[in-house]
């Protein structure tokens, strides 16, 4: 499968999935995620939780859980060559960037509008910055990124802005074993 996760890691993740599933119905709901205190205090916690749930659904099963987490596997050198034929693995640089893009893109229309950017910024700063200042930050960000003048950031514009950032390292978690 394109997931590229080892057997022992799957077993552990299943054990973790099971311990989060308080209702024991084989699927996680948003409340199950919010029960994790470290996630509940994360400013982008709700956006991250949302990434697990496909459009319009309220439950995520183990497959979906693993699929989302697979984006965060580190990119190993041997994998870069291996999967050229079977399509891109979930943890490629592009797919990691796409995951981050979707954190900003609230309505999933493949564009980050000024409004969406403002909302996400507001989540990250809380009440500590004024509307005007936040607005100017948003405007400047869009100005820098927007190349086709539609006042929105598309995925390719997003990728261009972040081309110097080490996405592979910043959006990976190191699995042991």
């Amino acid at each position: 499968k394109k997931l590229n996760i080892s057997h022992s890691q799957i077993t552990r993740l299943y054990s973790r999935f099971h311990s989060l599933d308080k209702g024991e119905n084989g699927a996680l709901s948003r409340e199950d995620f919010q029960r994790i205190p470290e996630l509940a205090i994360n400013p982008l916690g709700d956006r991250i939780i949302n990434a697990f749930f496909p459009e319009g659904e309220d439950q995520v099963n183990f497959r979906g859980f693993m699929r989302t987490l697979a984006h965060f596997r580190p990119v190993e050198d041997n994998e870069k060559n291996k999967d050229l034929t079977s399509g891109e693995p979930l943890n490629s640089r592009t797919n990691k960037l796409h995951f981050a893009f979707q954190l900003y893109d609230l309505d999933r229309d493949d564009k980050i509008s000024r409004d969406e950017l403002l909302q996400v910024l507001r989540m990250m700063v809380g009440v500590n910055i004024s509307d005007e200042q936040l607005g100017s930050i948003a405007d400047r960000t869009i100005q820098e990124a927007d190349t086709n003048g539609d006042m929105c950031i598309s995925f390719s514009e997003f990728t261009k802005v972040l081309e110097k950032v080490d996405v592979e390292q910043k959006m990976s978690i190191r699995f042991l074993h």
Partner: protein, 456 residues
């Protein structure tokens, strides 16, 4: 019918009578009398050593069996985590991003990649977090022949299954009735004797007798659980006028500590059997029981506790500051109430050995009766108790800092992880203030400290 049955009946009655007598005599000689005098024959330790050998053999068989069948034997290894978490802070990581990017001169420089940090931290906490795993029982590396701790150890060999079956018979057929008898004896004696002592006038005689009676009954209860306890540093045992604090894993903690010393208990008055026990205990020596309504009133609670410790003739108070049962791998936040009173604190660390029976009471999973049944049908409860040197609040230290200092000492001694999280998270949600702190920190990095300070 008549004449044929009666000699048979007589014989049956006689046999039953004899076996009961033998049973009770053995019970009395080997268990109750030593409990009264506080000596031990060493039977329990021998039992423990035998069990360990059996477990080792069982694990070896399983590993061999798994290799033969080429299965992967699931080893929980709860000491190692699934992932290695990055230890960089928000500030370090964001500064790193800005260094590598184009415009470092701008003051309020937001970068789209700022979200990466929060995203990664969020995903890390989904895969493995410190708190939720404190509220479920620890996983074992080897199997201890109890079905309840059998996660993935499928049928490997029939010899092992036979052993397990034998274990079930011994535990439920022999150990459980024995323990139940002892428990009933212990509790019954406690209620009756303390009520009797209550009629004596207050004075040295009453205190002396009350002490002896409490100790004796708790020792019988200890044997009712087949608890094998090792006490360390008894020279630091709590003295009158002090407060004893310990980490909390189960209601059994009380029995374990109270069988080695006399304490004044603190708690809410319950109904039923618990309430009966509480009411008779307080006749013999002053414990602190609160009505349900009084529990919310922090000042009242603090006043009663400080009145008690000021009276040097009264016993040390036993308190569990975590407020709830934790699974004995970590110590969670201590509530500062007992540390505000200003008396000497005697910390005690309790660590259970999970190989013989899981002592953690997961109150969301099973109730008290179910829990006691599980306790009494485990192999044994093995634990170590360390009495730590007394601590006093220092100059310039507030109650919270003092509580954290005591907590760190207990965690260090017991080999437990020291967490800052509140045990109340077992049932309740985390406070929003923590999220607001994170947001404030990020805002400071974004626009500089001045702006943010003027706003909040």
């Amino acid at each position: 019918m008549g004449p044929f049955m009666s000699p048979f009946n007589n014989l049956l009655c006689m046999l039953l009578g004899i076996s009961f007598t033998v049973w009770f005599t053995l019970l009395l000689v080997f268990i109750i009398v030593p409990a009264i005098f506080g000596v031990s024959f060493g039977i329990r330790r021998l039992y423990m050593k035998t069990l360990l050998k059996v477990f080792e053999w069982a694990t070896m068989r399983m590993e061999r069996g798994a290799k033969e069948k080429n299965h992967l034997l699931y080893k929980p290894c709860s000491l190692n985590s699934i992932i290695a978490k990055e230890s960089t802070s928000l500030e370090e990581e964001l500064k790193d991003i800005r260094r590598n990017c184009s415009s470092p001169e701008l003051d309020d420089s937001f970068d789209m990649s700022d979200a990466f940090y929060f995203c990664r931290r969020g995903i890390e906490s989904i895969v493995d977090d410190e708190v939720t795993k404190c509220f479920t029982a620890e996983e074992l590396e080897s199997w201890n022949l109890l079905t309840r701790s059998n996660y993935n150890f499928n049928h490997i060999s029939s010899r092992l299954t036979v052993l397990w079956g034998l274990g079930v018979v011994i535990r439920y057929g022999f150990l459980l009735p024995l323990r139940l008898t002892l428990a009933i004896t212990g509790v019954g004696l406690l209620v009756v004797l303390t009520a009797m002592i209550g009629f004596l006038p207050n004075g040295r005689m009453k205190n002396f007798l009350s002490e002896k009676v409490h100790l004796m009954c708790y020792r019988i209860c200890v044997r009712a659980l087949t608890a094998i306890i090792t006490y360390h540093h008894s020279e630091n045992k709590p003295k009158n006028g002090g407060i004893c604090v310990a980490n909390h894993t189960s209601p059994i903690d009380v029995i374990i500590l109270a069988s080695d010393g006399c304490y004044a208990m603190v708690g809410q008055i319950h109904g039923g059997l618990m309430g009966l026990i509480q009411r008779s205990m307080v006749k013999a020596c002053p414990h602190i029981w609160f009505e349900r309504s009084e529990v919310k009133d922090r000042h009242l609670v603090a006043k009663r506790l400080s009145d008690h410790v000021k009276d040097k003739s009264k016993l040390p108070i036993l308190i569990f500051p975590e407020g709830t049962c934790i699974n004995n791998t970590s110590v969670m936040m201590f509530k500062k109430g007992s540390f505000e009173i200003g008396s000497t604190v005697y910390p005690v660390a309790i660590k259970y050995d999970p190989r013989f029976g899981e002592a953690f009471w997961n109150s969301s999973q099973f109730g008290m009766m179910n829990y006691l049944l599980r306790m009494m049908s485990s192999w044994a409860i093995v634990c170590s108790v360390w009495y730590l040197p007394p601590m006093i609040r220092q100059e310039g230290e507030d109650a919270m800092q003092f509580a954290n200092r005591v907590k760190a000492a207990i965690a260090r001694q017991g080999g437990l992880v020291d967490l800052l999280w509140d045990g109340g998270l077992k049932r309740g949600k985390v406070k929003d203030t923590f999220k607001e702190e994170q947001q404030k920190l990020y805002s400071k990095i974004l626009v500089g400290t001045q702006e943010v300070r003027s706003r909040s």
